[in-house]
């Protein structure tokens, strides 16, 4: 590793990368806050108009078939939403009579292990980057009802109007039989 900083040398690229990573991390922490503080309208704005919000299912398969243990986009899924459906989910909670979330659950999103599988240092307008992360989501509702949902996210983030937007989200949960009675919490 070199010590001296040069505005156009490898250190500049590294600094740009760190800067982008910070921006991405901050994006996820803000998203978690919006969700956990029930600020759903600005949360919706984090998605592009053409977003695919997709939560495949998991299968128990032999070792040789392990690559297929996440259901494909042409299979059934837990969730397979476009932007309009995502918006309907928010509107349903906001009716105040969506009994599954009325009264609201208490939720904390912990987002960790944020990583760019193919590191980039700059993300110009219109460009996209794949970001992998883990989620640990704690949900508690009414008295003692508790769910812990853990898994991976694989997002495609796109820069639009200077801001990061989610153009695609794949949510891979580490359960085959879902142990929560419903999925009313956004992951």
């Amino acid at each position: 590793m070199s010590t001296g900083y040069s505005p156009c040398g490898p250190d500049a690229a590294r600094l740009a990368y760190l800067d982008l990573m910070r921006e991405i991390e901050d994006f996820y922490y803000r998203e978690a806050d919006l969700l956990d503080e029930r600020d759903y309208d600005p949360w919706l704005e984090l998605f592009t108009e053409d977003v695919l919000y997709w939560m495949p299912m998991r299968l128990n398969l032999p070792w040789e078939e392990r690559a297929q243990d996440i259901t494909s986009e042409e299979d059934t899924a837990w969730i397979h939403d476009d932007r309009a459906t995502l918006e309907k989910r928010v509107r349903q909670i906001q009716t105040g009579i969506h009994w599954a979330e009325e009264p609201l659950s208490r939720v904390s999103h912990l987002i960790t292990n944020i990583r760019l599988p193919a590191p980039v240092s700059v993300l110009p307008e219109g460009a996209s980057v794949t970001v992998k992360s883990r989620f640990f989501v704690y949900r508690n509702r009414l008295e003692t009802e508790t769910d812990v949902l853990v898994g991976r996210r694989e997002d495609l983030l796109r820069r639009l109007g200077g801001e990061l937007r989610i153009a695609r989200r794949k949510i891979v949960i580490d359960q085959s039989v879902l142990m929560a009675k419903n999925l009313t919490v956004f992951l």
């Binding site: 299912m57 299968l59 398969l61 969506h98 009802e145 142990m179 419903n182 999925l183």
Partner: protein, 441 residues
């Protein structure tokens, strides 16, 4: 099996329309149900499209127990209990696949896809005299039936044939599981099942889908938002007149009756889907005449197979796991010949409607959860549930077989019919008595 001497019928008052909360919380009744209902009734196991080729298998459940649906090398379908005859190990722990043999991971016994025990380690050296391997194959169901792609089985050799078990409810299955054009084409599953666990008794699920016409307030939020396949409020396209229909075998169904001279506007949210539907609808009218307008909307085939057959199209099985725990398995089906774009559109509609993330089903599960929990207490158990809607309504109809109550008269006749049959099973020592009990009101 000993007779409970009519004690189950004492919990289910058909005259008053009152049903004891014990049915939903009592551990002893729950254990009895496993023996008296799930080991005797015809149960839904899977769909033919899950086991197309020889050697294909799909791991399913019958009641609490794991079973394997498999197509053997000769192409014949079987359903086996998923347990090794040696020391009980689950012989198949994969959800689906294709195999030559099921090889037990414990001591290595291997079973062919027709259930035969074909391999035992140290067979020559260890077993002197040799034991008869033909006697130690996988445990197979007593009867199996495929109907319009759906696969059913029962453990009871005395159980009547599938057709007799369903009785006039065959009409609902025949119409419900036909392709949209009403012909003999195939339906297929959109993919693997959704499986999830809910804290509720299985009968809440069964009675709800048998046709609980009263639970509209459960779904008001989703109706306001509007998730149907066309635009605007609601969850579905119009279905026409609504007939709540029950059958003596404990089965219940809601039919939509559409006047065939009135044009339909279904699936207006997708041009391709609307066009495919129109094409099927025209062929359906040509094929079936006035009968084309009769389409089952929702129903439960006793005990625990529920379905939506119009919008969405899906099968839900409520597998019991305890008095207060149920494992739901939901699959979605479409016409095999539908264009890919139509299948995709239907998938997104079905998935936003049903399943744990379904905007409709989410609210059902909240209700079943806390209805079960609030019925557990010593005092709350003293107070029966109320099933009095339409107590004196209902009769024969020209449109469909069975006992029919037409909307706008609301009725809880279908849940009542389900619990009457539940009591028959719990009290009757054998199928002779069960068949006789079916004739009693």
């Amino acid at each position: 099996m000993k007779s409970l001497g009519g004690s189950a019928h004492a919990l289910v008052d058909m005259q008053l329309g009152e049903i004891s909360r014990e049915l939903f919380v009592n551990q002893d009744l729950y254990r009895e149900e496993q023996e008296r209902i799930f080991a005797r009734a015809w149960l839904y196991v899977g769909h033919e499209s899950q086991v197309k080729a020889p050697g294909d298998f799909f791991t399913s459940k019958m009641g609490e127990e794991s079973v394997i649906l498999t197509r053997d090398r000769a192409g014949k379908l079987h359903v086996f209990l998923n347990t090794c005859r040696h020391r009980g190990m689950k012989v198949c722990r994969y959800d689906q696949g294709n195999t030559k043999n099921f090889i037990c991971p414990y001591h290595g016994w291997s079973f062919a896809t027709d259930g035969k025990l074909v391999g035992v380690n140290d067979y020559q050296a260890a077993y002197q005299p040799p034991f008869d391997r033909d006697q130690w194959g996988l445990v197979e169901v007593a009867q199996l039936k495929v109907f319009r792609g759906t696969v059913w089985a029962t453990w009871d050799p005395q159980a009547p044939s599938f057709e007799d078990y369903m009785g006039e409810a065959m009409f609902a299955l025949d119409k419900g599981f036909a392709p949209w054009d009403g012909g003999d084409g195939q339906t297929e599953l959109l993919g693997v099942p959704q499986k999830w666990i809910i804290p509720s008794n299985w009968k809440f699920v069964a009675e709800n889908f048998s046709c609980d016409v009263l639970h509209t307030v459960s779904h008001r939020s989703v109706d306001m938002v509007g998730i149907g396949p066309s635009v605007g409020e609601g969850r579905r396209d119009p279905m026409g007149r609504q007939l709540v229909t029950s059958y003596p075998g404990g089965h219940g169904c809601l039919y939509g009756i559409w006047p065939t001279e009135t044009p339909r506007q279904d699936y207006a949210g997708s041009a391709e889907t609307a066009a495919y539907f129109q094409d099927c609808w025209q062929r359906r009218i040509k094929r079936m005449g006035k009968q084309a307008g009769i389409i089952p909307v929702v129903g439960t085939m006793f005990p625990n197979m529920s379905f939506h057959a119009q919008q969405p199209r899906t099968i839900l099985v409520a597998h019991p796991r305890g008095p207060l725990e149920t494992e739901l398995w939901r699959v979605y089906f479409v016409d095999k010949d539908a264009p890919l774009a139509v299948k995709r559109y239907l998938r997104s509609y079905y998935l936003r409607y049903s399943g744990p993330a379904g905007m409709t089903e989410q609210d059902d599960m909240e209700n079943w959860n806390y209805a079960s929990a609030a019925s557990l207490g010593t005092v709350s158990r003293r107070y029966p549930y109320h099933y009095k809607a339409g107590l004196r309504a209902g009769g024969a109809s020209d449109d469909v077989p069975g006992r029919v109550t037409e909307n706008p008269v609301t009725t809880e006749q279908n849940p009542r019919g389900l619990y009457k049959r539940w009591a028959d099973y719990m009290d009757a020592p054998d199928w002779t008595a069960l068949c006789a009990a079916q004739e009693q009101p």
